[in-house]
Symmetry: C2
Subunit: 887 residues, 2 copies
């Protein structure tokens, strides 16, 4: 029979699966000899059993009884003992922290008799005892019996009004005694039953309530969004109560072992005299800095300092703790490895190395790519005197400054004039897409991190603050008002910080990131943060197995990517080279009516392409450059069907012959679903000479570079291949051209159509490398047209918990990832030296980089600015055993 | 060491892999004691070795020598023996017939000496000997030495002109002797080498040429298109020459053991006196019916009759044969199981059962769904006196009558007036799509069965005759001319037969198919064909494991499907019910600006939906009816963006408020790639009440049917699910409604997004059935938008051999099929009683039905007219061991 209950002396921090985070750490502290109130933990296994079978597993009741007896023995008091009662708290504690999701009941053990005993224990403090009792009924009623909390609040408010009391502190013991009666009445009215006076029954019901809370809708939703498995269950901690509200010699506090903002070692925390933990959270009174405890209660303070040092040495990391002092006696109520800012994470990791607590391997795993990315965004100058007018949610990082505008049309209009604008809306919807594209940043007053604005802005990499609820946005009057009567009219300049959620009036100067300056080779190694980043990057680079390349389409991006550490180009998109002043040549190509016209157009494009490639080869000399042949459908280079149709219709007989011809062509090339139409390799096979022109330009540029003493390493990539036959045909033509010009180049393919992954064993026969185009692969595997669905329903999908993160942000392991694994395995089986990389945007996403490491790819490729992130995460992936922990 | 050469006495018909079809059957006949000229076969393995290694495998030359010696011994002559030479033919023979693709060289063994010996053998027939010699040089020069055949043709024509000869028959022995000299000169001029006079060398080079011909471009292309594996190689048959052109006592013929057109037993064939096989093919003289041979050479005729009976009994099927009579001696040159018409296939299969040659199991495997489908198309009345003006290729079956039109616009214009039209084009291109949709049939003068017209017409199920090369089509003058000066102007009525390729002037009456009348329950069982179909269908039904359901959206289709043998509905699309006079209600729903308006629109739709379902449940009483909730994006119910934009722009200030509002809405809902947009389950999750309305209507219709004493078996199908979470949410809502109304229904999902197949193990937790929507699954797995790509590049893809058949016609086993297998396996692992079906159009395609059987599905669902085809193929699949032979 499994063991369902663990005393705190029986567990340890490695048993989080079984005891939850809180229980495991309480046991760890107990075993370290720290002053933890005695108690025990009912396992997650018991919870899972209950949720499946609808009843306690057999033996659980007995185990609880046994541990309760041990607890009573240790405390020298019994649960419900009328003259000297033991009180306990019943607290949930799952493996993963789910703040605010799960239930807690304090003061279990009180009833009409034991309340007297509690008063006696408290030195005759009747008020304290009756206050505790009414708190029990209130919490129990709400949490265990499911009574709407407002009933209790109202009764409390009425009583205060009757007594003329301003706050709880003005109420007397007698008042609370009256309230206990009223609260019991509420329980009877709302449930038809008496409040249970049997402490053992109180405890049993509270345990059940914690079990049930695992499946409360908000918890289910939270888990979906946070991708926490639904079947873990929660543990339940039953702990002897200690009281910080027994007078000025008592109190409660929270603390960090070092500054979670900067990483500085020292004492950081808050303390509140004569209070319980919930009072600190409620913010009823102002806390004092923890340092002041030294003056108030030096013994407890010194003990706390010793404990904190012990914890940090033991956990080898920053810890946060909760403690209570009951009449001069210090009790530890909780500890865990604490959250910290991005800058602190880097500083702390290297400090711990210097202290000899961890080695560099572990230090690299203690920081994350997301943290590094945060450090790379430009920041607002902290020395500014700009007015902070409100804070919203930090939905998409960055710092943006611009004129406030209140409609998408206006945003586009001003942006077209070159103005920087911030689009301000109550909430956005698909109609705002144009405005969001035009704006520097987006600010909304409603919606959370999965709202439309947040999702779309993150997808675009655009700064966004959402859910700034203090703002009153009036689209009609084109203005918003902020607290303190601040009014911002259309055209007024505001600044928004997508990394902190801050909104400022006026223009806040932006300062470049010192970390970016470091990557650019201009960093200040005297700066502690820069030095920490440098040390960890050097070690990550030394540790990683994945190479990191850049997605870059021009020499400038290529050069920056190289400074940022890119080891080549993984994706050079050639179609971007067809825009701008070359659009006319492309139009000529498309409108060509015979071989001669088409060849003439191609022969004009070829020298231009050759020059493009020459520059890129120069910037990436000696490193591989993967060039993707033209991918989009040709109609993307022509005017929009609807706009041109309207133009020609309005012109009537005056429409130009050119426009008419163009319209015919646009109509002919029009596709219902261009993403799944005539593009990529299909175009290469159907338009004679198109791919050949590109291959020739690549080969000639490479040869010219070699003749100039350089080292161009071209890799020619064929997009959208779904069948090996397609690749064979293109490859044959390309090899002929390469041979003719006398240049060597690898020829490979994107794997971006599901069928390519499913038939990778065949395709590898004709491909020297695969590059996973996970953007398109995600689109086709899910059936999502990114342009359409992100704006139209992704925010609702995130809210519904259908996915925890957009599959375009982080690679979907179960679907897309499975295809990647199939292709890797079967491709390598056919061709053991097949080179494997990824060039979708996922190449710069931390979680996805870990996946790529696990899947056995050779490199990831991402945008130049994400290269440091990818380098760091590739190092972390290599250094973590299972490779899956990115947080 | 493997054996590379087999004498005809060593092989048999089961060795087709090794000996090719021709060699295996020659060996089989030899062993049956039939008069086959002696010879031997070089294996496909030798060919494969040669093609890989570039040289004969060691031992092959020795084996050839040994077999040649045996052959010389058997014939009492030696190769190249000057006074009495042995001549041999060298013929290719692959496992699968590749007509016209591979090489043959006759008369090997002739040179300046042995030609004299041949004349002596032929009783002093010098003309025959020299003619044979020049034929050798001509064939050898062209086939083995790669000389352009025109050089020889020109020399022959010049000689005839000099001699004033009208045909070859007017040339004398001396003329041919001159020609031999001229042909040798051509060989010297073109290759710089002498024609090889060593017969052994002639033979060696001819064998090499056959090996090489396996990889000739036309053969490679043919294999790609016919999906014949590229690595099989060809066998080579070396056979002693016999001559049908040694005078009037000699001759050559072809015959069938029964009529391949009707299946009637008897003697069917043609005979040509004093001729070789190639003369019959060339059609130089008219052949005589085989019966006349009885009069000319009764002994040979009687022997042939005995042989034919023996062959049919031995092969237990219709055989076709080639034979030669050399001065009264009958020789069998080839046999194989013969091709036949669809009607003959059914008749022959049942006749062979009646004769006790095969059992019913085998009879079912001898007919195919494609043949059955051919019998179900309406036919032109054979008794018509309509003028056949030409024949093209039978590209897409059916019989179509209409006015000839020469442009897409004109086709659409006349069709809009209710006229039946046939679109006539030289060839079609994507611009003709509208016209092809509007026309009853399509006729082109260029392009083969993979041309644009053929591919698109087959995709539409539209009658098409293509490549009618005798027609001169003038689009400009709007007419075509046919042989014999027939001119068809625009508006003239023509009739085209897509099953035979025939084109008639005027209207040919169409008669219904007796087989369809049978399926409709009105068939004439006295008709032999109908009786044959009936017997085989009954046995197929008794044998199959797959159930067959129908795709039907209304009661009429459901009733027909049931008559045709449907065992339920596998796909009832509800969106078709939203068209017609209900479009306004749907528009109201889409334009609804609040909950109230939306609910009002839904509540108007609900009773209409309920009535739709009630009718279908009645037609399918007692059988399962799978109803798919609404699938397409809402904008499909609104006007087209471009058209409406032009309309509003042209109206200017006079545009109605309604049109303006509508345009706003159309713009808002517009999607770049609607196939991958807001549709299916996504719509159900995002538009409150939409799915609930449909589920309620289904449940209420089912309850009403039960109350009326009927038996409605509803299965609710959720489209476009990609993640189990989507299905869970919809299912929860639907189950609530079903419980409330008190109706039981299965709830399941389409598997049509690749991710659904890849995560089927998870999805099966929430689904009671899967139905593979292989249309969309094919679109997303290949990245093909069917609307776009079939017309724009599929014909080129077929020509390039990228696929042998469109993946929309026949399920792509490697890609889409792999996903289906994954989903079947993992879905059943989660839920062993998971019901599995297919509802894409592949459900009615023979090859795909076999795949579904192999993959272990429970049923296929297809359009009502394809149900008999699916039933037959499901039976065949169950009766063939490997389930993969559909031809």
């Amino acid at each position: 029979m499994p063991k369902f209950v663990y005393g705190f002396t029986e567990g340890n921090r490695d048993l989080k699966d079984l005891l939850g985070g809180k229980g495991a750490n309480l046991a760890e502290m107990t075993n370290l000899g720290l002053p933890v109130p005695p108690g025990f933990t009912i396992t997650t296994e018991a919870c899972r059993h209950y949720l499946t079978a609808g009843a306690f597993p057999s033996g659980l009741e007995d185990e609880i009884d046994q541990h309760l007896r041990d607890l009573e023995h240790a405390m020298g008091r019994s649960l419900g003992q009328s003259d000297d009662p033991l009180l306990v708290s019943v607290r949930s504690g799952a493996k993963f922290s789910m703040p605010g999701m799960m239930e807690t009941v304090l003061n279990i053990g009180l009833n009409d008799e034991s309340v007297q005993g509690l008063a006696k224990q408290a030195g005759g403090n009747d008020r304290f005892a009756w206050d505790s009792y009414r708190r029990l009924i209130q919490m129990f009623g709400k949490t265990v019996l499911g009574i709407d909390g407002e009933h209790f609040e109202e009764a409390l408010d009425e009583l205060k009004a009757e007594c003329g009391a301003k706050g709880d502190l003005d109420l007397t013991a007698a008042d609370f005694r009256t309230l206990v009666g009223t609260f019991k009445d509420i329980v009877r009215e709302q449930t038809g039953q008496e409040f249970p006076s049997d402490p053992r029954e109180q405890m049993r019901l509270a345990v059940l309530a914690v079990f049930h809370s695992w499946n409360a809708p908000r918890a289910v939703l939270y888990r979906r969004q946070e991708r926490i498995p639904a079947d873990l269950g929660t543990a339940v901690n039953i702990v002897a109560m200690v009281f910080g509200n027994l007078g000025m010699e008592s109190g409660t506090g929270v603390a960090f072992t070092r500054d979670p903002g900067s990483g500085q070692q020292g004492v950081y925390g808050d303390y509140l005299q004569n209070a319980q933990g919930e009072d600190v959270v409620a913010g009823i009174r102002n806390t004092m800095p923890l340092q002041e405890l030294e003056r108030i209660d030096k013994a407890s303070y010194d003990e706390l300092m010793q404990i904190m040092e012990k914890l940090e040495n033991h956990y080898r990391d920053l810890c946060d703790i909760e403690f209570t002092i009951e009449r001069g006696k210090l009790w530890m109520l909780q500890t865990r490895v604490g959250k910290r800012t991005a800058a602190a994470a880097f500083r702390i990791a290297t400090q711990l190395v210097d202290q000899g607590l961890i080695n560099l391997d572990e230090a690299v795993t203690r920081v994350s790519g997301d943290q590094l990315a945060q450090l790379m965004f430009p920041r607002f100058d902290k020395a500014t005197d700009a007015t902070l007018i409100t804070k919203g949610m930090n939905a998409s990082p960055g710092a943006a400054v611009g004129r406030a505008v209140f409609s998408s049309d206006r945003a586009e209009e001003l942006a077209a004039r070159g103005e920087a604008v911030i689009l301000v809306r109550r909430e956005t919807n698909p109609d705002d897409l144009g405005g969001m594209i035009a704006a520097r940043g987006v600010l909304t007053s409603r919606g959370g991190k999965t709202s439309h604005a947040a999702v779309v802005a993150r997808g675009m990499g655009k700064t966004c603050v959402c859910g700034a609820e203090e703002l009153e946005v009036s689209t009609k009057e084109r203005r918003f008002t902020a607290p303190g009567g601040v009014v911002v009219e259309e055209g007024d300049v505001i600044s928004i910080d997508g990394s902190s959620g801050a909104v400022y009036l006026g223009e806040v100067p932006v300062v470049p990131s010192p970390v970016v300056e470091y990557f650019e080779g201009e960093g200040d190694l005297d700066d502690e943060l820069v030095r920490a980043v440098h040390r960890l990057m050097v070690h990550a680079d030394a540790s990683r197995r994945l190479a990191v390349r850049a997605n870059a389409d021009n020499a400038e991006d290529a050069a920056r990517a190289r400074r940022f550490g890119a080891e080549g180009i993984g994706l050079c998109r050639t179609e971007h080279m067809f825009l701008g002043d070359r659009r006319q040549l492309v139009e000529d190509l498309i409108l060509a009516t015979g071989d001669e016209e088409r060849e003439a157009a191609l022969s004009k494009l070829e020298p231009l392409q050759r020059a493009d490639y020459a520059e890129i080869f120069e910037a990436m000399d000696g490193l591989p450059v993967t060039i993707r042949l033209i991918d989009p459908p040709l109609h993307e280079f022509l005017p929009d069907l609807t706009e041109l149709s309207v133009k020609v219709a309005l012109a009537g007989d005056a429409a130009t012959a050119k426009d008419r011809t163009l319209l015919e062509c646009v109509k002919r090339l029009h596709e219902q679903n261009p993403m799944l139409g005539l593009r990529g390799v299909r175009l290469g096979l159907v338009v004679p000479g198109l791919f050949a022109m590109q291959v020739r330009a690549i080969a000639e540029a490479a040869r010219a570079r070699a003749e100039a003493g350089g080292d161009a390493r071209a890799e020619i990539m064929i997009p959208l291949v779904g069948a090996v036959q397609e690749l064979e045909l293109v490859r044959e033509e390309a090899e002929g051209i390469l041979a003719e010009i006398g240049v060597d180049a690898l020829i490979g393919t994107m794997i971006e159509v599901p069928r390519a992954a499913l038939t990778a064993g065949q395709i590898a026969e004709a491909a020297q490398f695969f590059s996973f185009g996970t953007n398109d692969l995600t689109q086709m595997t899910w059936g999502f047209s990114r342009d359409d669905v992100e704006a139209s329903f992704f925010s609702q999908y995130l809210d519904l918990g259908i996915f925890g993160v957009s599959p375009f942000e982080s690679l979907d392991r179960d679907g897309v990832g499975r295809l990647v694994r199939i292709a890797v395995e079967e491709g390598r089986k056919t061709r053991p030296d097949l080179k494997l990389g990824i060039c979708g945007e996922h190449g710069g996403d931390p979680e996805s980089v870990h996946f790529c490491h696990e899947a056995g790819l050779d490199y990831v490729s991402c945008s130049p600015f994400r290269i440091p992130v990818a380098r760091l995460e590739a190092g972390r992936a290599a250094l973590t055993s299972d490779g899956s922990d990115t947080r």
